[in-house]
Structures are given as structure tokens and as C-alpha cells.
Amino acid sequence: MAGEHYVVIGNGPAGNEAADVLRAGAPDARVTIISDEFFPYYYRHRLRDFIVGGCEEGDLVVRAPSHYREHDIRLRLGQKVTRVEPASQTLFLAHMEKIQYTKLLICCGGMPRVPEVHYTYRQHLSVLSTLRHARMLRARMPDLRRVVMCGGDMISFRVATTLAAVGKEVVFLIDEEAFWPLELTDDLRAEFSSALGRKGIEVREGDALTGVDAVGDDRYVARTRGGAAIDCDLVGAFFGFVPAIEFLRRSGLDIERGLLVNERLQTSQQGVYAAGDCAEIYRPDLRNYWVSIGWPNALQLGALAARNMLGEAVDAGGPAESVFEVEGVRVNTSWWREF
């Protein structure tokens, strides 16, 4: 097809913000969003409410299809990019379709991280990062009596309190990997433990998951380093996220833990940009890369990447402050230096 074609991989805040900026800045160009999720752009932070019936799927939707129709943005949901070939400016989709792009923005986010030590029983671990995960958890909610949670990232604390609030028995294993990849100081860990304890959550500090045995339909025994064997209905793994960029491994793009981009969010390949949780952004003053997290940062960086794709030269600068708070415990979580 003739004309400019801006393609955005990822249907989260960064991708959608970028698509809007691209549309406004290039009225005659084609703008396409591709996402391997079937669902429209939704509020991920509300998933914990959704799993306990605090809201319905419709309440999660950020944008109705009419927005895309009105702005002439092509939305390809449930379609997975399997390969990017920057030299020919071509995307390859899982359903054997090739798409030519003029410029490409990758903001495909992250996926739940499960440390290798847990690989042997990961099929018994539940995670929560997408609506698909949330649906599965919600479907099981009526039969959940006791939940064991391990790890301890930002989501986990909120999920734990949400489950406790609806009467579920929650056992929380917080070890040295908790709140990964930030280092949780002893003081902060104590504060979190205390806050969670006040909500009726049983916190086992310093204990860690060492095994999970399935003992029946949706019934498990969680074994811990401390020697406990806990009967439960669900084991939740909350060890943060890793960039969902496996499909880019053969693309020639520079990748470390995430997709490396310069301060203008351009990757090592001409015409290819990245933003959001999947990118590591170079910061000249630190001479190092940083990773943004959080919705506001994603919106900001998505817009910025789009402006640069349209020909501007805007630096990302440092991230805005974003404070994470659980039960009065506050941590600045706006960025960190590695995954």
C-alpha cells in the first residue's frame, strides 16, 4: 500500500498515546496498532478489582472501538508479531501475513517473570498481568479458600489486600527476592509486613517457595524453605515482569534485558523506536540505561516516541516521580536501572 505507514506493536498506554500523536501529526498516513491480546485497551491496575468482582470487563476498557474508527487507526487485536526485519521494513505476523512499515514503535510491555528456581512446578503457579489471567482467577474465586503468594512485587501487595478484603485466607512468603528488582530494605520489608499483617494476611518473612504439589483438582500443597507444607487452592507468583521481546531476538536490534534505545527512544535500527516497559532508555547523565514503569510514564514516553517518529528531536529526560503506596508505606517506583 502506498504512503506512510506507522505501526505500533502494543495496545497499552504507550502504544495508544503514540498512535494518537501519530494520527494528529500525520493525517494522511496509515496508523496501525497490533496486539497479541484479544481485548481492547484496558486498565491493568483494575484487574485486581475485576478478579474479586469489584468491576466488570466493560469497566476496564479505556477506549471504545469508535475512538479508533473516528481517528482512522487500524486496530489489530489477537495478532502476534513473530519477526521484525528492519532492513526491509517488514513485520511478519503469526498468521503468515507480512506488513510493510515506514516507522515502527515497539511498546509491547512485559510478561510475568518466574525465576528459574521455580521452573519445575511453574505450571502450578498463577500470575496476573493480563485480562486473560484475571479471567482465570475470577473463575476460580468462588472456590478459593486459601491462597499462597510468593515473590512480592507492586501488584502482589495490592492483590493480597484485595483478596483478604473479600475473606480469602492469604499466606505471603516474602524473601530476599521480594519487590524485585528493587532492593527492599529491612525497614521497608518490616513496614510492608506490618501493613499486610494488619489486613489479616499471614506474612512469612524470609521464607520462600521451594515446591508445589498438585493434590487434586485445583488443590495444592506449597512447600517452603522453612519446612512448611501449606494446603491451598492457589499459588500466586509475583516476581515482577520481563520485557516481552523474544520475537525480536533475530531482528538485529540491540537487546540486553530490554530493548536498548537512545534518549530519543530510537533503537539501534533506523526507523524503529521503543517505549514503555520493554525499553531500556539511555540516560547520558547516568551513562546508563533506565526503565520506566507506571501508566503516566508510559503515556509520556509513548507520545515522545511518536513525536520523534514524526521528525522531531525530543529527549526523554528523566522520569516523573511515581509513588507506590500500600497501607501508608510509600516508595518512589518511577524508574529503576535494570530489570
Binding site: 472501538p65 486496530l75 487485536l77 503469526a94 498468521h95 503468515m96 501475513e97 506488513i99
Partner: protein, 593 residues
């Protein structure tokens, strides 16, 4: 569904699109049978190319609902794409929030313009399924992609999987056990893939609740129903020349009729066919032919002979777009004028028009009775839409009697010379078959006297013409009053329609009534003689009288205007497709302000 708000759990339109030979029609048949077996109502309207089989696009179009389906619906809720390039053009008839099931692992790469997934609009939901891969796993080839897709539909929409397995067994009943098993495997693989991999993002959910299970349900087309009506009426001779969309009638009769002692003759052309039929009718046997517009043109002369000689015959006209060869695989209701008036001179004969598949059975069966009782050719008007569409049907001879019961008037020998065309009050003269002792009589296409002898005098012609017309008056008096729906008393809008368009008209009345308008309808099945009194009575109650039909000039509208002495609002479209409910609804709403 035909509504404007999107799919519901109880009313869904599913299209299965592929290249000819991809099995889209077969998949549609299984879907229909499965859904009907679950107790849902089904209407199916397939489209396929006019050209040689193996080329072009085939689309199975099924509407499944908990309520009796009146129209196939213009917009689809779900499109199954068995072939991407062909399916892209079908997206135009998919609603904004529609669903597309496509092959996520085709054999080769598509360029962007060639992949149906690339054409999905915001709001549409695409489910990529490795149809080819799963098909190969099940049947060692790609030919069961259609069955894999049915498994996906079953799981996604909550349609009972066992119902599909039963329908697959029925569909492949004549095949080997291996064929049945591998197709069930293909279905299962699709179902399991959907359960495992697809995140349901659409609202369609039948809830896996089968209604009262119907094991003996028939899913038949209008043509198949018409053929069954012929058989149950005691047809002895079918003579015909193949023509789209009527051929199926001959195909069905060709299989069934000989086993019942009847005869099917494929003649050299339509003139010969109607000649056989009139000849057989003269001999006292029930005979029929089926054709389409171009064939009816050729038959007119011999139909006139039947009228003049007062010979029973049944002619089924499956209308299609014209004139000439026209649009062989597109629907139109444009043969009404030729059916009623096509003649040299004045040639009064009854014309019937069923409005749904069940009536194709009932009215064809009844046409034989009328033909015998009134000693005349009877024309039954189907059209491509009605001939080809399939519905779940329960029929019986008894149910057909709602259109009246008509008996032969046979002659018995008397001392007087036999008057084959005796003048009677009803117009019907006692009839004799050739070879009946003491009832010998001549038969001719010339005007004749009461004994059948040629006579061209003015008074004889007048009397005979009046007698032939009087038979129709008698029929009109005996035929039940036309169906009238809607509230009593004054109506803001009254809708008159006929044949296959009645479903859309009834739908429109439903919607207009829901919006607060006083709307009603009158739907004759006896097109000729015209039910003038009933039309006038209905017209008198209507602010606006609207006539809906699928032809461009308004052939029935003209008759209604003549009968009611008023202008009518014509919703007449010859757009090569069934008249949409929305067109009638919009015209009525506009007329009423």
C-alpha cells in the same frame, strides 16, 4: 441478527466463506442441522457463483435464533474465513463489532492486502485459529478446515458440542466410519483449540443449553420442500429442463419419484416439458414442472392451452433476476406479471406464492388440489431466495389444509351427450379422462362450445370466457382470507407483501410496533385471483399503505393500487438480494414522519 444493536445470545448470523470446494456450504449444512437439532430455529441462505463449480466464492449464511426466523439478516455477526481473499469482500457485510475466525497458519505468507486479518476494523474481533494445521492433524489434509471451524464456533458461542457431533454423523452418514471419525476429530481439535487458546472477547453465548432436543428435524430448502409437496400430492409425472434455481426440484424428484412409481423426464427444453405436463394432466394424472423466468416465457403458450382446454397442471416458477438469462443466482420477484397475465388473449389461472419453506410444501401440495378441482394450470411462485434458503421445518398434509380443501368434479355418464365444458354456476364442469366410456369429448386450444367443439361465435366466446373466469371467482371465495397481522382498528402504516419478502415485512412490523407505531400487514398467498375485498378492507384502516416486493416496477403494488383505488408507497427494489427489513422499516418511518 437482523437488529441494529449487535449479536445476542439468542439470535446470531454466521457466514462461512471460502473458495468453491472449500466446504463452506457443507459446514453451513452441519451448522444448521446441529442448531436445529438443539431446538433452535434456523434459516440458511447460501450464495455461490453462477459459473462452473470449483471457481469463485461460496458463502454459507445461517441465522440461528430461539425464535422463528423470518429473514436471514443482512449483516453477519460472525464470518468464518476459509479463504482470505474471498473473505475480505465479505467483511462489508459484517457488523461493526462482528467476529472473524481466520486461519492463523495458512500455507504461505500473505501480503498485507491479501490477509483478511489485515482488514478487520476497530471493534471487530479476530480469532486466529490454525485451521489448516488442525485439519491436517485430523484428516491428513486441509479439507476439514471447515469442520475445525465448526468446533471453534461450538466452543466460542456455547453451542452444544454433542449436537454438532450428531450432525456430523448425520452429514457423513453415507460415508465410511473413518470419514465420520476423522471429521469428528477435526471438530474436537477446533473445539479444544478454542478452549485452550482463544480469549473470548465477544458477547455471543448460547449457554450450552439445548432447547427441547429435536432428533427428527428437517433442514430443507424451499425447492426440497416443494419437491416433497409434489410427492405427497401424488405426483405421477415430472417433466422439466434444468435451470437455476429450479433444478434442485428435479434432482430431488429424480431420486425419489421413480421409487414411488412416478416418472421423471428431462426434456429437451421447457416447451417440451410443459407439453408433457399438460398431456399428462389431460390423461388424468397429476403432473408438474419447475422452471425459472426464461423457462416460463417458453411455457406460456402451452399454459394457455391448459387454460383453454381446462387441463390441470402445476408449474413451479423459481424466479430469478431478469430479463433474459439475467442473474441466474440472484433473487427477484419479477415474474408476477407473466405468471398472472402472460398469455395470448385472456388466460385466467391461479397463482400462488409461498412465503417460507414450509409453505413451499403446503402450497405446492395444495396447488395440485386446486389444479384438479378447477381444471386449470396453477403457477406457484418461488424465487431464488426461497428456493435456496433452508429452514428447520415440520410439515404435514393436515397442516396444508389451512389453505382449504378442494375436490375433483368428475363426470358420470348420462343419457345426454357429454358436455365437457358445461356452463355451471361455479365455472367448473364435470371432468372426464380420455378413454372413459360414454364420456368421449374433443379437446382443443380453439375456442369451443360446451361439448368441446370449435366455435368462434361471439356469444360462445363470451360465455366461455366468463366460465373460465368464474372458476377463479369460485376459488377466491373458497380460499381462506389473507393473513392479517397487527392491531385492530386504524393503522399508521399497513404493509402489503408477498412471497419471500413477507418475512422482512413481518420483521419491519415488529420493529415499527416496538418503536410505538401502529403498524400491521396483509400477506396473501393466493396472488391471483386478487383478494380485492380483503385488500380494500385492510387499506381502509391504513394511513399509509406500503407494498414491499423485490422488483423494480412494483408489479404487485400496481395490482393493489388498482384494487384499492389509492396510491401506495412502493418499497420495490431489484438489487439482486432479498429486500432488507431496514428498507421497509425506514420507508414506513419516513412516511409516518
Amino acid at each position: 441478527m437482523s437488529g441494529t444493536t449487535g449479536p445476542t445470545s439468542s439470535d446470531v448470523v454466521i457466514k462461512i466463506c471460502g473458495a468453491a470446494g472449500d466446504g463452506s456450504i457443507a459446514a453451513g449444512q452441519i451448522l444448521n442441522l446441529a442448531a436445529a437439532g438443539m431446538g433452535y430455529h434456523v434459516m440458511n441462505f447460501d450464495s455461490f457463483p453462477a459459473e462452473i463449480r470449483g471457481f469463485g466464492k461460496s458463502v454459507a449464511h445461517s441465522r440461528i435464533s430461539v425464535e422463528r426466523v423470518l429473514t436471514p439478516g443482512t449483516m453477519a455477526d460472525c464470518l468464518v474465513a476459509l479463504d482470505d481473499p474471498h473473505s475480505i469482500t465479505e467483511l462489508a457485510s459484517l457488523r461493526e463489532n462482528g467476529i472473524v475466525i481466520y486461519d492463523s497458519k495458512p500455507a504461505d505468507y500473505h501480503e498485507e492486502e491479501q490477509a483478511v486479518a489485515g482488514w478487520l476494523q476497530p471493534g471487530m474481533i479476530g480469532y486466529g485459529v490454525p485451521l489448516r494445521e488442525l485439519s491436517t492433524e485430523a484428516t491428513k489434509g486441509a479439507k476439514s478446515r471447515n469442520i475445525v471451524a465448526l468446533g471453534v464456533i461450538s466452543k466460542l458461542f456455547g453451542l452444544d458440542a454433542d449436537g454438532f457431533r450428531w450432525a456430523i454423523g448425520k452429514r457423513f452418514g453415507g460415508k465410511s466410519e473413518t470419514v465420520r471419525e476423522t471429521n469428528v476429530t477435526a471438530f474436537n481439535l477446533g473445539w479444544e483449540y478454542a478452549a485452550r487458546e482463544l480469549d473470548k472477547a465477544d458477547p455471543i453465548d448460547f449457554g450450552n443449553v439445548a432447547l427441547a432436543r429435536v432428533e427428527n428435524v428437517s433442514i430443507v430448502s424451499g425447492n426440497e420442500a416443494a419437491a416433497q409437496g409434489c410427492i405427497d400430492a401424488g405426483l405421477r409425472l415430472y417433466a422439466g429442463y434444468p435451470i437455476t434455481p429450479a433444478t434442485k426440484i428435479m434432482e430431488v424428484l429424480g431420486k425419489k419419484l421413480p421409487a414411488m412409481g412416478g416418472v421423471v423426464v428431462q426434456t429437451e427444453d421447457e416447451i417440451s416439458a410443459i407439453g408433457h405436463v399438460v398431456g399428462g394432466g389431460f390423461a388424468g394424472k397429476r403432473c408438474a414442472t419447475a422452471t425459472s423466468g426464461p423457462g416460463l416465457c417458453l411455457m406460456v403458450e402451452c399454459i394457455n392451452l391448459g387454460v383453454m382446454a381446462e387441463v390441470p397442471a402445476v408449474v413451479i416458477d423459481c424466479q430469478r433476476g431478469g430479463p433474459s438469462t439475467g442473474l441466474p443466482t440472484k433473487t427477484e420477484q419479477s415474474d408476477l406479471n407473466i405468471a398472472i397475465f402472460g398469455a395470448s388473449g385472456e388466460s385466467p389461472r391461479p397463482v400462488l406464492a409461498p412465503t417460507n419453506v414450509e409453505e413451499c410444501y403446503s402450497l405446492v401440495l395444495k396447488a395440485f388440489e386446486v389444479a384438479d378441482a378447477f381444471q386449470t394450470p396453477v403457477i406457484v411462485l418461488l424465487d431464488f431466495f426461497l428456493s435456496s434458503r433452508m429452514e428447520d421445518v415440520v410439515w404435514s398434509r393436515e397442516a396444508a389444509d389451512r389453505f382449504g380443501a378442494y375436490e375433483d368434479c368428475l363426470a358420470t355418464p348420462t343419457p345426454e351427450p357429454y358436455a365437457r365444458y358445461a356452463i355451471t354456476e361455479t365455472g367448473v364442469s364435470p371432468r372426464a379422462y380420455p378413454g372413459m366410456p360414454e364420456l368421449v369429448h374433443p379437446i382443443t386450444g380453439l375456442e369451443h362450445d360446451e361439448h368441446g367443439l370449435p366455435n368462434y361465435s361471439g356469444p360462445v366466446h363470451t360465455r366461455m370466457q366468463q366460465k373460465r373466469q368464474r372458476k377463479l371467482d369460485t376459488l377466491l371465495a373458497r380460499w381462506p382470507a389473507p393473513e392479517v397481522i397487527g392491531p385492530h382498528g386504524e393503522l399508521a402504516v399497513g404493509i402489503v407483501s408477498w412471497g419471500s419478502t413477507v418475512g422482512a415485512a413481518k420483521n419491519a412490523i415488529k420493529r415499527l410496533s416496538r418503536s410505538g407505531m401502529k403498524a400491521g400487514g396483509i400477506f396473501p398467498r393466493l396472488m391471483w385471483p386478487l383478494a380485492g375485498d380483503a385488500l380494500r378492507e385492510f387499506s381502509a384502516r391504513c394511513g399509509t399503505l406500503l407494498v414491499a416486493e423485490t422488483n423494480s416496477s412494483g408489479q404487485y403494488a400496481a395490482l393493489v393500487e388498482q384494487a384499492t383505488h389509492r396510491d401506495v408507497l412502493r418499497v420495490c427494489e431489484a438489487a439482486a438480494m432479498p429486500l432488507p427489513t431496514a428498507a421497509i422499516e425506514a420507508a414506513a418511518a419516513k412516511a409516518h414522519g
